[in-house]
């Protein structure tokens, strides 16, 4: 099952410079494990040590943000396109304080 994955510039060091790569899996988690076999280290930039999707990336399946599709549980089908973008966020407030407020 081929799924096209669009890789942002900042992660292309893991894919030998490729903008898009093909992977397989019936969920986002499965796809990332498959990709990590071919592109070691890539998964570690997307998934936290606790096993959740990293806050610093936005991941989409076709036109949907995977946060609304069950995150790593998001189902994939043949021909889907997964787009990875670096989250654009920040602000004057300290991240530690923000995380504390959010209860993370």
């Amino acid at each position: 099952m081929a799924i096209e994955v669009r890789i942002p510039t900042i992660l292309r060091s893991y894919t030998g410079g490729s903008k898009t790569v093909d992977g397989a899996g019936d969920s986002l988690g499965g796809l990332l494990s498959d990709l990590d076999g071919k592109y070691p280290g890539l998964r570690g930039r997307l998934v936290t040590e606790e096993g959740g999707l990293h806050r610093f990336v936005n991941v989409y399946v076709n036109d949907e943000d995977v946060r609304f599709l069950g995150s790593l549980e998001a189902k994939l089908s043949d021909g889907d396109t997964v787009t990875i973008l670096p989250a654009v966020a920040g602000g004057a407030f300290g991240f530690a304080a923000l995380a504390a407020l959010a209860g993370r």
Partner: protein
């Protein structure tokens, strides 16, 4: 040395956006042709956080804008946001999130109602490097442009613009 070259019209647009959204943080992107390092198209983004201390591109708007950029062979040349009560220097949060190493991170401080502080940075692998901001305008005599130069010393870049 790295420098951000940007037109007065686009800079004015960014400042107007930041002033309009004050006291919430404003954010957006200026795109340009891939590899040209030339910010040409200003896109004001929604701050999905709608906060005075945090900003985040709206997820769906970001995807739409990114696809548009991709179709036009553009890239984000400038990523800007405002700080509304503190200086125009990247916070630790800004540095943690900075995920476009090729982009100029432009910070606008609107804490002073009269004076807008504008400073530009590269943020690569967690390392912040300030760079001068140079106003370029094709319609302006190149000799005259020199009088718009500012931020000769990257540690003291401070562009003041009366609103």
């Amino acid at each position: 040395m790295a420098v951000l070259s940007i037109s007065q019209a686009i800079l004015d647009g960014i400042v107007a956006h930041a002033r309009r959204d004050h006291p919430d943080e404003a954010c957006g992107v200026v795109t340009g042709p891939i590899g040209a390092d030339e910010p040409t198209r200003l896109i004001e983004m929604q701050n999905a956080a709608r906060s005075m201390t945090f900003y985040e591109f709206d997820s769906m708007e970001y995807l739409k804008v990114w696809r548009e950029m991709d179709d036009r062979d553009e890239e984000p040349v400038v990523i800007y946001h405002s700080h509304t009560a503190t200086e125009a220097y990247p916070s630790r949060t800004d540095v943690s999130f900075a995920g476009w190493p090729e982009a100029h991170y432009l910070l606008v401080s609107t804490r002073d109602p009269e004076t807008t502080e504008i400073r530009s940075y590269r943020i690569v692998d967690g390392v912040v490097t300030e760079e001068p901001v140079r106003i370029v305008d094709a319609k302006v005599d190149p000799m005259a442009v020199q009088s718009y130069m500012f931020g000769q010393s990257p540690t003291t870049v401070d562009y003041e613009c009366r609103s």
